[in-house]
Assembly symmetry: D2
Homo-oligomer: 137 residues x 4
């Protein structure tokens, strides 16, 4: 059991492949973002709900380990969970699979800042609560 | 003579290639933008000078004809000129070469709008004047 | 009536937005490609069916007219049709809508070439037939 | 002293910004690749020298820590070094600065594989030697 309860599918676009004939490694960062946005839609009222309150969520760290190549047109399942809420910080973990086989895994770290001043602000209670609710789901 | 006096070089990035082993066609749109920005730097005080006055330049049309494939690591020369200023509209033409050989050509059309209201505003006189000056250069 | 019978939806990714706060114009070229691939899946056995026969379909022209800005998270419907088969050439037309409202339209032209020699080869009969069948659908 | 002797400059493209008004975090992965390719040009005969010998260098890990936002048109200096050669594996470290100020740092891990069979092959002696020579430079 891999400990993820939420996933989003993406299909590898031709524009995301490179001259090695496989998906370019930077595309995985975009797919994790797509999955993060889908998670926020499902559990926290969407990314725009965060932005509407004058908060931006910056990405402070990106870690990806590539286990197998992904090819054009592959359907990948991006398992996603949010956690590690502490002060102005939180984290998303990812497990990218193709037909149950591990393709890549990793995480991103994020910081909530005031959209205008860019100063750190605590992760809002409703977002922290959404993380807890998603864990329980 | 191809009628261009200003150019910018770009080198094809590996991330810009695709599984056909050549540069992806959408990358050319980005290179034209890079050349446009360089033209604005050279002749009009930079793109930020436009934005600083509360104006955005939207892209309203993109036309590209691909004559030859570009490969990873190729150095491409993007010839660029601006013209066709009329009301809230102007246009950039491009000729992309590799070692003097035509790789692609095309143009983009643009509209100047108020950055807040998004209503069309006349191309500022100083930008129209920069276009004339660049033509004379 | 706009004369399109097939469409694919895409959702604007955050990575596809730019500092103007809207979808970057080059992203539309990628969405047209996504729609083209979906059309080939629906009517012609998929893009890999073409490549499996030793043929590459190169993009020789890209024309896009941007009518309205697209924002992060917008769902866009990319209407697509294929036609204009003649010799080694064919063409796709696109109409990109959001809730029935026109956002952008345009077309791409393509040439079929031998995957190894890169010489033009006639559009295969089965692909020309797929285009006719899709028109009738 | 940060222990890097080789760097490459990149300028943030408008297409690389996002609706937060800053460079999108996935763009940094592309800039590291640009720097890696420049390093290979400077010290190992270029990436094509590797590919010409029937070897592909796959990216197996990507780690980036974002310290400060990068804005449109910023010139970033990507300090790069290669090391950690062991069997079929090697690693690049990066330090991305703007005017001497740290913007991001991280590393990528790579594996050399046979271009056809995709089986791991030892890092070629001449590449391992290039790494040693660059360290001494």
């Amino acid at each position: 059991m891999h400990g993820f309860a939420f996933s989003t599918d993406v299909r590898v676009r031709f524009a995301e492949t490179d001259a090695q004939g496989i998906a370019h490694h930077a595309a995985f960062a975009v797919w994790c973002e797509v999955a993060r946005i889908a998670w926020l839609d499902a559990f926290a009222g969407g990314y725009d709900a965060i932005r509407a309150r004058g908060i931006e969520a910056l990405t402070t760290e990106l870690v990806l380990r590539y286990r197998r190549a992904a090819a054009f047109h592959d359907v990948l399942t991006v398992w996603t969970r949010c956690g590690g809420v502490r002060g102005a910080r939180f984290r998303f973990d990812y497990r990218i699979e193709r037909g149950g086989e591990l393709v890549a895994d990793g995480h991103t770290s994020h910081a909530t800042v005031d959209a205008v001043t860019r100063s750190p602000v605590r992760v809002p209670d409703w977002l922290a609560e959404a993380v807890r609710a998603a864990r329980g789901a």
